[in-house]
């Protein structure tokens, strides 16, 4: 708007004060005249909102409307009309020399960590990490942003620094390069607090001693623990994500962001095709596949869960889908025992089960339209005639429709130690599979 020569005043609620200012700066208008109303606006009556309008800006303490009119009419000063390019400073290339304790505090206090202790990335440690890949340290790996922000670029060396900090060994490095090359940050800026997950396939799982048996998704092995954590550090330091109030707006946060749900598939004990092979890779390829969405939950609450004689895991998984939003897909993690039982039931391929689940998990069109994000993201596509959303918005409220457009929206992966036939369900969407071998 200002670019068009029209004076404008953005107005936001108080909660977004920091965000509005820093966003304006990133877009090149550090002195934009933003005004703020009390928070929230949502759910308030007309009378309450009139009181906001006639009251003060809670940030500046001045009358709101006076501020708006001043914002449109008070002449600009020299700084406001500045033009040109401005470089953003991220500090010197090396910190120190200093003691390890002081460096630990420095990294923590400057938002470069997840607030847990790190391995200090000394030049020696970073060099050792770089030996984990044949790629040149100065090669640009990719670009990353945590949302609708200008993306930052980064090199192999910068990924290595973060890998050291997370506690990774040099042999893990190609996985981190593969993850970073996707440009996907593990901390998205949305006000919804999203979860992230990665599925790792191929012989590298055993080479690195990844845990895919008992406690597969818990804190029981170094590669599972540190590779997942490194994704969050990469999101913060290379993608400028995870700054609360600026590039992270998740109101409540998500507890899975500490590790980002690292899943090494238990290919050995699974009776089904490994995930990367489904995606067109060879069994001997090493691949990391990334997911994003809401959460992961256990199947214990499903109808008929864990029944004694003949558990019907197909019904149970379908039942768990009742509390998923259609905006994100389903990632189902099955213990090998669960898979054995499903194969006995006749689901000898993943495709047979996803096909059944897709056909047999239905909801009314009304429930679909009333679920989170659907109005924001699917409705505009429905208006453009995109299927199946167009049909799902046209049909009567009581019509039963599937949760997702295709059976492919349901992903099955095997992990677990066969101590009990359990499964977990993530409301998570597949984004991309990246070859790890290319980064070796």
């Amino acid at each position: 708007m200002e670019k068009l020569g029209i004076p404008s005043v953005p107005m936001a609620t108080k909660s977004f004060a920091d965000l509005a200012k820093s966003n304006a700066s990133k877009r090149g208008m550090p002195h934009i005249r933003a005004c703020f109303t009390p928070h929230p606006v949502w759910g308030k009556t007309a009378e309450q909102l009139m009181a906001y309008v006639e009251g003060n800006d809670p940030v500046s303490g001045k009358p709101l409307m006076q501020e708006i009119i001043d914002g449109l009419t008070v002449p600009l000063i020299a700084e406001d009309t500045k033009t040109g390019m401005m470089d953003v400073n991220v500090g010197p290339p090396v910190y120190g020399p200093d003691t390890l304790d002081n460096l630990q505090i420095h990294f923590l206090n400057n938002g470069m960590t997840d607030f847990l202790p790190i391995i200090i990335p000394t030049p020696e440690k970073v060099d050792a990490m770089l030996k984990g890949s044949s790629h040149h340290p100065d090669e640009v790996v990719g670009k990353m942003a945590a949302g609708a922000f200008a993306a930052w670029t980064f090199t192999v060396r910068q990924v290595a620094v973060n890998a050291v900090m997370a506690g990774c060994e040099p042999e893990y490095f190609p996985i981190l390069l593969a993850v970073a090359s996707s440009g996907m940050a593990a901390l998205g800026s949305s006000t919804s607090s999203f979860a992230y997950s990665m599925v790792i396939n191929g012989p590298i799982r055993d080479k690195l001693n990844m845990n895919y048996t008992i406690g597969a998704m818990g804190p029981f092995a170094q590669p599972n623990a540190t590779i997942g954590r490194a994704w969050t550090l990469i999101g913060k330091n290379l993608g400028n994500g995870g700054i609360p109030g600026d590039t992270y707006m998740g109101s409540q946060g998500n507890n899975t962001n500490y590790n980002n749900i690292v899943i090494a598939e238990n290919e050995k004990d699974s009776l089904w095709t490994p995930y990367h092979v489904q995606k067109g890779f060879k069994p001997e390829d090493n691949v990391v596949s990334l997911f994003a969405g809401e959460d992961i939950r256990q199947g214990h609450g499903a109808r008929g869960a864990g029944v004694l004689e003949n558990p019907m895991f197909d019904d149970q998984i379908s039942d768990m889908f009742r509390t998923l939003t259609s905006q994100f897909d389903a990632l189902v993690i099955c213990d090998p025992l669960t898979i054995k039982r499903l194969v006995e039931q006749g689901y000898d391929t993943k495709e047979k089960l996803t096909d059944w689940l897709w056909k047999n998990t239905m909801r009314t069109a009304k429930d679909y339209r009333d679920s989170a994000f659907v109005y924001t993201f699917h409705y505009p596509r429905a208006l453009r005639g995109e299927e199946p959303y167009a049909t799902w918005y046209k049909c009567p409220e009581g019509t039963l429709i599937p949760y997702w457009p295709k059976p492919d929206n349901i992903v099955l992966v095997c992990a677990g130690g066969q101590t009990n036939p359990f499964f977990q369900v993530g409301n998570l969407t597949y984004r991309v599979s990246v070859s790890i071998d290319k980064w070796m």
């Binding site: 820093s22 401005m86 470089d87 200093d98 460096l103 400057n110 020696e124 600026d246």
Partner: protein, 134 residues
């Protein structure tokens, strides 16, 4: 946070923010590094708690043979252990018909003890086979 602090967090040049030291600056400057400081040895404490001592339990004397004895088959309640013990029972019937078998499901959830059952076995039984795990 005020605008200056927010902008400096972004790493914006002090040209725009006269007088405000950039936040992402150096740590306190210190002297040059000592020779190979990483090789210096330090001492750390063991974080482990104190485990209880273990009272060794001598195993019960074994029987000379099972012929004519009473063997209790105890089901601890995990999925499928009853079916397994039933097969064990059939095996004895086929191979050692002189053995008397008594099948018992342990009372209560699997973590709970069942003293009446232990008392009964002590009085009437000669040996026990317990099935756990699923």
């Amino acid at each position: 946070m005020n605008r200056r602090k927010l902008l400096s967090l972004l790493g914006m040049s002090p040209v725009l923010l006269t007088g405000n030291p950039a936040q992402a600056g150096q740590t306190k400057h210190a002297a040059a590094p000592a020779a190979d400081p990483g090789a210096v040895k330090i001492t750390t404490v063991n974080p482990k708690g104190t485990p209880p001592s273990i009272q060794l339990i001598p195993m019960a004397p074994r029987l000379d043979s099972l012929d004519g004895k009473t063997v209790y088959l105890v089901d601890t309640g995990f999925h499928g252990s009853d079916a397994l013990l039933h097969q064990v029972e059939l095996w004895f019937n086929r191979n050692m018909p002189s053995v008397t078998l008594v099948f018992k499901r342990k009372a209560g959830p699997y973590a709970q003890d069942d003293p009446p059952l232990w008392k009964e076995i002590k009085e009437k039984g000669n040996a026990v086979i317990m099935a756990t795990g699923h």
